[in-house]
């Protein structure tokens, strides 16, 4: 085997390794789905998923066909009535997160806030959970 053939064989092997790495990394960007705890009928006792009040008042990011919510350092989405999260943050969601917090809507200033002047009356917005 001459030197040129050896080098080209080495080049092909390097391409194969790079291609495998690219496929693996791209698959990883899709995120590994991990199932989160589901609350069942026990309202108020939250497990490893965003609280109902957060879902009700936060604008999701649509990714991969699901409404996704950034909460507690993870992206969550519902599929088939159960909450799931990405074990690794997909690149698309990472980019959206870097663009700014998810918008939240605040409907009322709660009583304790009124007396101290905190919060607005109705409407309003606050940043998403980070």
């Amino acid at each position: 085997m001459n030197r040129t053939v050896q080098t080209c064989t080495l080049r092909r092997m390097a391409f194969a390794v790079a291609l495998a790495a690219t496929v693996a990394a791209t698959a990883g960007c899709g995120g590994v789905e991990m199932e989160a705890d589901y609350p069942g009928a026990d309202y108020g006792a939250y497990g490893d998923y965003p609280p109902d009040a957060y879902i009700a008042t936060t604008e999701p990011v649509y990714f991969n066909g699901y409404a996704s919510y950034w909460y507690g350092g993870r992206w969550y989405y519902q599929n088939g009535g159960r909450w799931n999260h990405y074990d690794r943050e997909p690149a698309g969601l990472y980019q959206r997160r870097m663009q700014g917090a998810q918008r939240r809507r605040t409907y009322e200033s709660h009583p304790a806030g009124r007396s101290t002047g905190r919060g607005g009356r109705g409407g309003g917005r606050s940043g998403g959970h980070r």
Partner: protein
């Protein structure tokens, strides 16, 4: 030849390395474990504000949950005008029920201010509120059908998730005192903080609340929400086929109003003049505003 092959090897290695590093979150941005306790002050305010809203504004029932879900659904600029028009339309359809609820809360506020709540007037307002709620679904069916047409499948699913989340929060906000251990932020605990109620006042209120408490059948609401969710996620949807809607709205709104009245009637006798003035003011504030109907900021 040698140079081109070497460049090829370098390019291939860089491609592989670049693909690995380029994966946004990857190992560089490994997120921490999720904990509900990590909620920020802004989150706490938004949550408390939603609880406060669901304690005092029942008038639209499930239709109100749907309209509120549109506030943070996340729609494209192309959809924005149509969705806002439908949101406004839904609130307009809820107006008769809102006016009836306004009358109920104003009656309660007057009673708290004077020390005597007019029970007959409260009952009449409750009947009007329940009747208006029962008519709500038929009045808003066309708007719901148009909304379904405007939204994409993921948005429809997200709306159903949000409606169910509102129902869960509504139940938490209106859980009957004594039904089980109340979480912090319950109706009585919130009022105690707001008005500076003493422990003795709280005990007296709790004892009165246990008597004659109206009962909610959550299964009726849950059954309707299940039917709505299944139907709305489908490609074809017709709100007029949802036969459980009017009953669920009447039950949810009627119970919400009755429970609010029962709560205020239990609180009323134990208040001192300052607390009376403060509570009447709070109630009038709720009667006079409709925050969920305001334009989306």
């Amino acid at each position: 030849m040698m140079t081109s092959c070497r460049m090829g090897i370098v390019a291939a290695l860089l491609l592989g390395a670049g693909a690995t590093v380029g994966c946004g979150g990857g190992s560089v941005n490994n997120p921490p474990a999720a904990t509900a306790a990590a909620a920020s002050a802004g989150d706490a305010d938004a949550t408390a504000g939603l609880m406060e809203h669901h304690r005092h504004h029942h008038h639209g029932g499930v239709t109100l949950f749907i309209a509120m879900s549109l506030d943070t659904l996340g729609v494209s600029p192309d959809q924005q005008a149509a969705v806002e028009r439908l949101r406004t339309d839904l609130h307009a359809r809820m107006e008769p029920a809102r006016a009836a609820e306004q009358s109920l809360v104003a009656t309660l506020a007057d009673g708290v201010a004077t020390g005597t709540i007019d029970a007959a007037k409260v009952d009449a307002a409750l009947a009007q509120l329940t009747a208006a709620a029962a008519a709500l679904h038929d009045a808003s069916a066309e708007a719901l059908n148009q909304l379904h047409d405007v939204l994409t499948p993921p948005q429809r699913a997200a709306l159903v998730d949000k409606v169910e989340a509102h129902w869960a929060v509504w139940r938490l906000a209106n859980a009957e005192e004594g039904e089980r251990a109340k979480p912090e932020g319950g109706r009585l605990a919130t009022l105690a903080t707001d008005l500076g109620l003493t422990a003795d006042q709280v005990d007296k209120i709790r004892a009165t609340l246990a008597q004659g408490m109206p009962r909610l059948d959550p299964k009726e609401i849950a059954t309707h929400l299940g039917a709505f969710g299944d139907a709305f996620r489908n490609e074809k949807f017709d709100a007029r086929t949802l036969k459980t809607a009017s009953g669920a709205n009447a039950h949810l709104v009627g119970w919400g109003g009755a429970h609010m009245a029962h709560f205020i009637e239990a609180v009323n006798p134990v208040l001192n003049p300052d607390q009376r003035t403060m509570l009447a003011e709070r109630l009038r504030e709720h009667a006079s505003h409709n925050p969920s109907a305001e334009a989306n900021p």
